[in-house]
């Protein structure tokens, strides 16, 4: 899922468990920089991958197209 933080960073969130935060590099975005890692880690962790200001998030990704829903538990 994607959410808007108060500072307007969009963010990919996936999985449940202890928290892991992944921050992408210049010109990338959360999905292109971390894609398969988000899926791998989300089996044991809650993964948060913000998109930095200016990140070009393609429209199909803006509404959580690729990440697992976050479990309400933990």
């Amino acid at each position: 899922m994607s959410l808007q933080a108060p500072d307007l960073l969009s963010m990919t969130t996936a999985g449940s468990g202890p928290a892991v935060v992944l921050i992408h590099g210049t010109g990338a975005d959360a999905e292109s920089n971390w894609g398969p890692l988000i899926a791998t880690l989300s089996t044991s962790y809650t993964v948060f991958a913000p998109n930095l200001p200016g990140a070009r998030v393609p429209p199909h990704r803006r509404r959580g197209g690729s990440s697992c829903p976050r479990s309400p538990t933990k």
């Binding site: 969130t13 202890p18 928290a19 935060v21 992944l22 590099g25 010109g27 962790y45």
Partner: protein, 194 residues
């Protein structure tokens, strides 16, 4: 950090960053030492020097003229010579197209930030277990920058692996394996000491 706080991570989190993301992660770890359980930094740096400022300024100038020009330069600079030597012409053009699709003038703000990084006064404040990971063929932020980063962060480990600056794009399997292994080890250590 506001995004992280909004996500309710007051109890602590493992933090991983690549390139500018490594710089941002370093700053978060220095400014919120109680909340960062572990820190993995790939292709990060301490301070932007004149050479890097020149490079980021060139990137910004190219981007304003035509994003594809910057994409072509990034393929040549971000990928390791070993990887480029194996690619044929159409594969190289595919990489150019991939980079081009991600670049537009909205990232000028990120490039402006890249050009004025100075974390030297803050690094001593980091308390998280830290792994500084350098790609041996990084020609954007060469390994000496990352060695300096590791030396300035208390207790940080340093590791060099084959590849270029764009390791997450060049060898995602290898890079993500290192990240997963590190976080698994750090989480086990956190639980053992809890």
């Amino acid at each position: 950090m506001a995004a992280v706080r909004a996500a309710g991570l007051a109890e602590g989190f493992h933090l991983v960053g690549h390139s500018l993301g490594a710089v941002v992660a370093t700053a978060v770890a220095a400014r919120h030492p109680g909340q960062v359980r572990s820190l993995l930094l790939h292709a990060g740096w301490v301070s932007t020097g004149p050479r890097e400022a020149l490079m980021f300024d060139l990137w910004s100038r190219l981007l304003r003229i035509d994003p594809e020009l910057l994409a072509r330069l990034l393929v040549l600079e971000a990928m390791s010579p070993a990887m480029l030597a194996q690619a044929n012409g159409s594969q190289l053009e595919e990489m150019v197209a991939g980079f081009t699709s991600m670049l537009d003038t909205r990232i000028l703000g990120q490039l402006g930030l890249d050009a004025r990084i100075d974390l030297a006064p803050e690094l001593h404040a980091i308390r998280a277990a830290t792994l500084v990971l350098a790609s041996a063929d990084d020609r954007i932020i060469p390994p000496p920058h990352q060695r300096a980063l590791a030396e300035a962060i208390p207790g940080a480990q340093f590791r060099e692996v084959p590849g270029g600056h764009g390791l997450p794009f060049e060898d995602p399997a290898g890079f993500f394996h290192i990240v997963t292994e590190w976080i698994t080890g750090q989480q086990a250590r956190t639980q053992a000491t809890a």
